[in-house]
Amino acid sequence: MARVVVGMSGGVDSSVAALLLKQQGYDVIGIFMKNWDDTDENGVCTATEDYEDVVRVCHQIGIPYYAVNFEKQYWEKVFTYFLDEYKAGRTPNPDVMCNKEIKFKAFLEHAMALGADYLATGHYARVAYRDGEYELLRGLDANKDQTYFLNQLGQAQLSKVLFPIGELQKAQVREIAKEAGLATAGKKDSTGICFIGERNFKQFLSNYLPAQPGSMQTLDGEVKGTHDGLMYYTIGQRHGLGIGGSGEPWFVVGKNVKENILYVAQGFDNELLYSDEIIATGVNWVSDRRPSGQVSCTAKFRYRQPDVPVTVEMIDETTARVSFSQRVRAVTPGQAVVFYDGERCLGGGTIDQVFRDGKRLTYVG
């Protein structure tokens, strides 16, 4: 009987993942990851409630459960990166980094140390074995597909990974949980960045990075106000600028980190927000057969954004030039660019530099 370690967060998705594996006859072990050390105003660890849900669900399913602490690794590999990116004026994606460094690295190693044959998670994604290779496929629920966050996985990980709910729609997952009477059946989906949760993002960030207010200007140098600190803004953002007056609304169109200037412009469709080419770094290909020459595929520059046709060309081992046939709005440095061929997620990287008509944009400068 193959042994599977399921990463359980206390949410409905991983609960159902564990239940399905158990029903399929696997030797299932539930493990709760504690990645963040936090206590609320009563001194209670905020992970406690989620862990208690894991305990309840595992009792219901009839599987053993444990917890594992990756706070140190998470701090070093994910949170440090997260802060560094903000310091550089970019908009990081800690979920991608967490999957790469924690869930499918440290946690995968932990699962293997427990004699597991596979690691399972509650991600909406699928794995297929075709032509001697593992493929990462989009989850069947198009609205929930999470391959965007899994773009850094490769053959070594996919050969050990199961995504039991990748074939399901979210509504089906809830239905299964409800029918089985799982404690998490009606639990609200978590939102936002896991370690921040429902808290005020600005306040959270200000605990770690000094906020340096500065000038808010148009690209022509017209001062429109002051900003609270560049890290609080992302490209294409409308809310929180505090620029009133008549005419079209104002949007963030760029940052000058050196001089601490936030660039703004008017109109959702302002040309300044559009780009047609990027340089991506840290590019990973799911397949071991690395592409040569130009690859025509589609790409996502943000989670839950429709795919855009692109051409990818590797410049060196891990850097790619990605050109798109149509201009895309608010492509943001620090976020992930993820490549697809139909259902297949080919891989992805980090958006580093952004261009329009061959000219580098001021997004981060």
Binding site: I29, I31, F32, K34, V44, C45, A47, T48, D50, Y51, V54, V55, P64, Y65, Y66, A67, V68, N69, H110, A113, L114, G115
Partner: protein, 381 residues
């Protein structure tokens, strides 16, 4: 798969004789010991006998025993009770950095109430010296609380010597003897102990009962208010079946002390021999010469305790390490940190095995084999 329980320091199975002794006090003799009718008297007699029996095992008098809900309540009552009753005399408390959380967190609470607490560090063997206590003593020291034997390492503190030192000082001497009771002889007079905490479930009694010995004349303020039970020192109807269980467990613990010690020494020997034979890299945490025999805390270098404990559990072997946080993950042991520093390899690679009623030599041999197998697998590069 036969499971092997090596976590008796966490809690222990109830001895069949204890269960037998308790049953009548839930069926026939269910009366409230404070009641004036025959039902009450039946329970009252049992309560007084239990008090007498338990007092005798530590050389105390019956009226010096206060029944509580367990070791934690006994520790709380001793430390907070003495501190609050004597705060006009002084506000200084001495304890150690390796106490059970029932003592440590009680002291932390008192710090917030304005008391001054000295946490004595321990050496790499896990012990404090009489000299350290002597140096820490002040004119305003009102209580010294030092555990008898450590729950994580089994390390024994020089209780007798500290007791003697305190004869010449006005501070009360409290010791948490929850782990040591039943495995080492204790005489509160000889050792000059003023307050001593005991727990039932560590010695094959039921959970939810324990007691505090408080020497006659010790000034103590209660912290549970209500009826006048326990000479107004602890309100609430007495847990009679539990107390009868504690009495029986205490009797058995005293009668079997010598044979248990011999058996557990042998268990340790077998376990360590197996590790040697299998070429496992390990070290015992704590001074080898003066430890409680039922606790063996071992660092397996190159392993991670979270993976190790889960593997042991999956193989049916129950052991533990430090304490789990509310979110289930294992916090580094404050005891090992105090002994070896937070950067030591031992902090994240140590496991506590603790022996007790029901363990057999065959179990220990099989467990040692299984542990060796797992450690080898985890340390294989």
């Amino acid at each position: 798969m036969e499971r092997i329980y090596l976590d008796h320091a966490a809690t222990s199975p109830v001895h069949p004789q204890v269960i037998e002794a308790m049953i009548p006090y839930m069926t026939t003799f269910f009366g409230n010991p404070s009641s004036i009718h025959s039902f009450g008297r039946d329970s009252r007699r049992a309560l007084d006998e239990a008090r007498e029996t338990i007092a005798k095992t530590i050389g105390a008098k019956a009226n010096e025993i206060i029944f509580t809900s367990g070791g934690t309540e006994a520790d709380n009552l001793a430390i907070i009770g003495v501190a609050m009753a004597n705060r006009e005399k002084g506000r200084h408390i001495i304890t150690t950095s390796v106490e059970h959380h029932a003592v440590l967190n009680t002291c932390k609470y008192l710090q917030k109430q304005g008391f001054d607490v000295t946490y004595l560090p321990v050496d790499e063997h896990g012990t404090v010296s009489v000299e350290q206590v002597k140096r820490a003593l002040r004119d305003d020291t009102i209580i010294v609380s030092i555990m008898f034997g450590n729950n994580e390492t089994g390390v024994l503190q020089p209780i007798n010597e500290i007791g003697h030192l305190l004869r010449e000082h006005g501070a009360y001497f409290h010791t948490d003897a929850v782990q040591a009771y039943g495995l080492v002889p204790i005489d509160v007079n000889e050792m000059n102990i003023d307050l001593l905490s005991l727990s039932s479930h560590k010695i094959n009694g039921p959970k939810g009962v324990g007691c505090l010995y408080a020497r006659e004349g010790v000034r103590l303020i209660p912290h549970i208010y209500g009826g006048e039970q326990e000479r107004k020192r602890r309100a609430g109807t007495e847990n009679v079946p539990g107390i009868v269980g504690l009495q029986k467990a205490a009797e058995i613990a005293q009668q079997t002390m010598a044979e248990k010690c011999m058996l557990y020494e042998q268990f340790q020997h077998v376990m360590l021999n197996t590790f040697e034979r299998e070429g496992i890299r390990y070290a015992i945490n704590g001074r080898e010469t003066s430890r409680l025999p039922h606790v063996l805390n071992v660092a397996f270098f190159g392993t991670n305790v979270e993976a190790l404990l889960v593997n042991l559990d999956l193989a049916g072997i129950a052991a533990s390490s430090g304490s789990a946080c509310t979110a289930g993950s294992i916090d580094p042991s404050h005891v090992l940190v105090a002994m070896y520093g937070s950067e030591s390899d031992r902090i994240r690679s140590s496991v506590r095995f603790s022996f007790g009623y029901g363990n057999t030599l065959e179990q220990i041999e099989r467990a040692a084999q299984e542990i060796s197998k797992i450690v080898k697998r985890l340390t294989k590069a």
